[in-house]
Symmetry: C2
Subunit: 451 residues, 2 copies
């Protein structure tokens, strides 16, 4: 029979077992952290009607979407988790309690040009808090705490949560009489990190058509920095000139005020007036999160406050605030940078039982006992030389091997070898369970991300 | 703006938050149980090249598959987890350790006719053990233990694991000189439960064309029942007439022999000679699992031993044994039958903090403290009457509410109300944490499935 060469599509992540174990830990930490903050899990279909997914339409979405017919139906794969959330909340609004706090971790699809580190299938991990008609600013103040907890629990230390407020930006540009050019200005200013202030100034004058004073005023504004209280003080100097600006500044002050109480240290937080996060969706606080040692990666967790989640599906006003982590890309980058902790266990089992008699009754009983104690147990029954069996445990990094021969069976015992230090003891199966459990506990607790 | 009616495609399960919490518990128990047995998690793409997925082709697969073009690529959504596993093992055989034990829980797609309780997108939860060239029979003996643990941990009590061996069937039909008709006979015999022995006899004679004695001999054979030892004894009477039969009987004897040691009580296990599980794939032990009170549902966990997982992709002989649970359908049935334990917590949080002062600093600090203790905490900050706030907690079944007013803040305390019994205490935040944790512990431990 002629064979078909097995392959995985380019742009689709498929991990070997050990990195997959790391990915599972990653996802598990996200789930646990999101749940600590009172978000409930949702799971929506991968496939939706194209009409639903493309209700907003436009831009890259239509180009990148995976869209197809099945029978008469015009279907597509979701390209984010926000549109399915909008549909869900619009559909089920009568059955939900508001504010509705949900998380969803799932795969989304974008047929982008294949490129190293770009994925066509990737996990997003989103949280959103949706209000019915209105949503208190305290929810915007709580989001940095979720971001901080998430990355700290993952083990990342050197990162910054950067925050801005769209009302401040829009109010500021209105002050300067630039409401119409605000979009162009924000798109230009967004490049500050990449091209530097001088180039921004030139672009504002030459491409956007501002005069030199206005360009300088913008540059002065976006370069406001310092401690949170210094930044707030400098921003307060602009008060009284535009109502929207003042409102945005009040909101930002609230976010900054509660940071400490929500457990976010000032070291990991910065007001950054260059952040805008797109032009037509966010209306209040916006968030980006950057790795201090890898600014080239861009934001690893972004989001913000919006006023109208589901305007394409319902008249109901559904404001919200949310953030999203692009898990697959972040995991890929961490792998590439060697930042995943290779000391964490990736073995499929805690102990490998090697029966040394033909009859497997005692070995099976030992396995059953150990599993009942919560110990992940494999029984190795293939006919193979001892060296091969130990090599199997070694290669999979299974920390304990248990030998069960005639002597052990006669004595009602089992011989446990610690595969790390080679230490070996012959003990009862229940003592073996305790030995394994305390050994596992002693090696637990490392964080997934280094640095 | 005209609105698009929000809708979810028919045949796609989308749950409200409370049942979604139950589904998450379901999936979590599957993951934990599979891991106890030393299976490592895998995650493969939802989309594969059509050439890969349709390598075997034929039958319903080609009709039901979701297949589409993207650019030049002919793509399709996976319709099971076995084909992607075959591809994975063929691709990565050099990097895997054998026997390779993996589990995968993921969505698969079949464009079946929409029908109540039939899903086009559904979760499968598979385990497989793949050998390199050969695989010991002990692995087949271990599978009933995984099935038994899985359903017992879920809470299901009244179920039976039904086991047969394809070698016994093929050997038996060879004894009767029916090797060519074996397929027709097995398809007929498979209907025994539905149509009864008399009808089977008529069909064997009239449709398959057997003579009356042969039909009777088949009926005598498939009706062999009793305790495991009785069944084995009756089967032993057929020994010595066909080599394949004898080999199959040895295998079945091994599976039966180790049941007890693997923790499977005889009450939950039955040799059932009517089970065949399709005709061209399985070659040894085959498994079905039925709910005793709901035989109409059919098998809720099936699988078996196969000799050649990846024959379409590689010359390498990869025998294996595996089982699959159709999670979405099973969950749906359990819901319909009222068999999901509604006492289990489905709340998005363990405690809801209700700040009663304008300043939220203390409330945020309390939330941060409780979360650090692992307590899932929501902070409710919407301006609403107390009744509405308590109604929110009540409707979501959040078990504790914490009030934080000026008196509490002045005293460095918090008032905790138990939403079930209405009991209320004003204590320090650390005592509140202990109170909540011990309350949660006291109510934990229920099983997901009743009966």
């Amino acid at each position: 029979m002629s064979k078909i060469t097995p392959r995985t599509l380019s742009g689709f992540m498929e991990l070997l077992p050990a990195p997959q174990q790391q990915m599972e830990q990653f996802l598990q930490i996200l789930r646990e952290t999101y749940e600590l903050y009172g978000f409930t899990p949702l799971d929506t279909p991968l496939i939706e009607s194209s009409e639903i997914l493309l209700a907003k339409g436009g831009g890259d979405t239509e180009k990148q979407i995976y869209r197809f017919q099945k029978g008469d139906a015009d279907l597509a794969l979701r390209f984010d988790l926000t549109v399915p959330l909008a549909k869900y909340v619009a559909m089920h609004a009568g059955e939900l309690c508001f504010p509705f706090r949900r998380y969803q971790i799932g795969k989304v699809y974008r047929g982008e040009r294949a490129q190293r580190g770009r994925f066509r299938e990737f996990y997003q991990a989103d949280i959103d808090i949706i209000g019915d008609g209105k949503l208190d600013i305290a929810n915007e103040a709580e989001i940095p705490a979720v971001i901080y907890s998430t990355f700290t629990r993952l083990g990342l230390q050197r990162f910054a949560i950067r925050v801005n407020n769209r009302k401040i930006l829009n109010g500021f540009y209105a002050m300067l009489g630039l409401t119409e050019q605000a979009g162009d200005v924000m798109r230009t200013v967004d490049k500050l990190d990449k091209v530097g202030a001088d180039n921004i100034r030139t672009m504002l004058i030459e491409a956007v058509g501002l005069n030199a004073e206005t360009a300088d005023e913008i540059l002065r504004f976006i370069s406001i920095s310092g401690s949170n209280s210094e930044v707030m003080e400098k921003l307060n100097a602009y008060r009284g000139r535009n109502e929207l600006f003042d409102l945005g500044l009040d909101e930002l002050a609230t976010v900054v005020k509660y940071l400490g109480a929500f457990g976010v240290p000032e070291t990991h937080f910065a007001v950054d007036l260059t952040i805008a996060r797109g032009l037509d969706y966010y209306t209040g606080t916006v968030y980006e999160t950057t790795m201090l040692d890898h600014p080239e990666i861009g934001s690893i967790c972004s989001g913000g406050r919006y006023d109208n989640l589901a305007e394409y599906y319902t008249e109901r006003q559904l404001p919200g605030v949310g953030i999203s982590i692009g898990v697959t890309r972040l995991f890929y980058v961490l792998q590439e940078q060697g930042m995943l902790n290779s000391d964490l266990p990736t073995a499929p089992a805690d102990v490998l039982i090697l029966p040394m008699t033909e009859d497997l009754t005692e070995a099976a009983s030992a396995a059953t006992y150990l599993r009942a104690q919560g110990i992940r147990t494999q029984l190795y029954t293939e006919p193979r030389k001892m060296k091969g069996k130990l090599g199997y445990a070694d290669k999979l990094r299974i920390p304990y091997v248990a030998f069960l021969g005639e002597d052990e069976i006669a004595a009602g015992k089992i011989t446990i070898r610690n595969m790390v230090d080679g230490g070996q003891e012959t003990v009862s199966v229940s003592d073996a369970a305790e030995l394994i459990q305390s050994g596992l506990k002693a090696h637990a607790g490392g964080k997934l991300i280094l640095g």
